[in-house]
Symmetry: C2
Subunit: 227 residues, 2 copies
């Protein structure tokens, strides 16, 4: 179900198609290619680029299922992940002509694309988009506090709690992303992330069922450590 459609300001004129069954055959197309052919629903395989920094920002996206990362790069390849987007999230909304980020599929995912132009005429939709922009702003600012002022343990626990809160089960969490993704989100190295997670497991605050499956055993203690 599309969040834009499900929002209080229902009846958006952008599209009448709800997010539906993914079309596996669209997996190998880029957004701009696929959109001309397929309409607004696209599938992306794990690792696939959805758009690159500097590409013309013709549309923005809503996640149907799966996880998307938006990130920026420095000249020498250093990467900073801005956010992980999951079902219902909007990303790729730009005011400039081009994307200021690149976006990639963290795991297989389905997206709904919305054309940018023409969105100015719908008042409620504009407010909806404004709301998303403000939400993104608040997130980015919390993220800056984390990046600038938190220690490795605080960063990792903050991440775990934040991810858990957005997961179906708050204490039994599946990490869709690699350690490298987590590191690039937290401004750490992969080794520091790994060591910190090991530390948390040794301290009995979390348990790894598999490297991607975590049980949060002591939410209070984690909350304590998160700042």
């Amino acid at each position: 179900m599309s969040t834009l459609l499900a929002s209080p300001s229902a009846g958006s004129s952008i599209t009448t198609r709800a997010l539906s069954i993914p079309r596996a055959w669209a997996t190998d197309m880029r957004a701009d290619e696929a959109d001309r052919v397929l309409g607004p629903v696209h599938n992306y395989a794990q690792g696939r680029e959805i758009y690159g920094e500097g590409d013309p920002a013709e549309c923005f996206f809503e996640v149907g299922f799966g996880v998307v990362r938006t990130c920026k790069f420095l000249g020498d390849g250093r990467r900073q992940i801005d956010a992980f987007h999951m079902a219902g999230d909007i990303f790729g909304l730009e005011i400039t002509a081009d994307y200021t980020f690149s976006a990639e599929a963290v795991c297989d995912c389905a997206l709904v694309s919305y054309r940018r132009h023409g969105t100015g005429s719908d008042m409620r939709l504009s407010q909806q988009l404004f709301s998303y922009a403000m939400h993104g702003l608040a997130q980015a600012q919390d993220h800056a506090l984390l990046l600038g002022r938190k220690s490795a343990i605080e960063k990792v626990t903050t991440f775990l709690i934040g991810w858990a809160k957005r997961s179906p089960n708050e204490t039994e969490v599946t990490l869709a992303m690699t350690r490298q993704d987590i590191a690039d989100y937290l401004g750490l190295t992969i080794e520091t992330v790994s060591r910190t997670l090991t530390y948390l497991e040794r301290a009995a605050l979390i348990t790894f069922v598999t490297p991607r499956q975590v049980r949060l055993r002591d939410m209070n203690a984690l909350q304590e450590l998160s700042s």
Copy 2:
């Protein structure tokens, strides 16, 4: 001159009063107190709090002159400065009921306040605000890249260049803020900022006329170092 009024979508219905001569006698009032009495123009003395994190967000602001910092705090007092706002900038725009930041006057400054409610009915104004939100978002995201992935030298040079670009004279720059402010903006300590500036001066890339007055002597080299 108010940027909102000077913008392409001129004729905003929010206020008809252009930013005018500062009223020194308003200096000792908080925004909410002063607004009832004075209307939309306020002065704030250096160091004065404009609003605090968690205060009800009744209005947002445009800087007339001077510099404002918006920042967040952790429980133990660690501070992260989100942005420095100068003439023409908008800040304090929130979608939640309360401010998610605190805002303080970096130096004596004059602000125009705008009431939040009632802004939904003006289409062009909404777009203007959306534009400001998106601009803030882009800034916050560049800031995250800096905080997460840049070294001290890169951070400091990035800051200097960014500040210079917004200054009247790009090579002869006045720093309105203290070293502590710079440190809290860059996610460093005051000592590291000071040492890095000294290093840049020894390398003949900058010269300090006074601790607050910098000449950028080699913009290309600085640009090189900034990432």
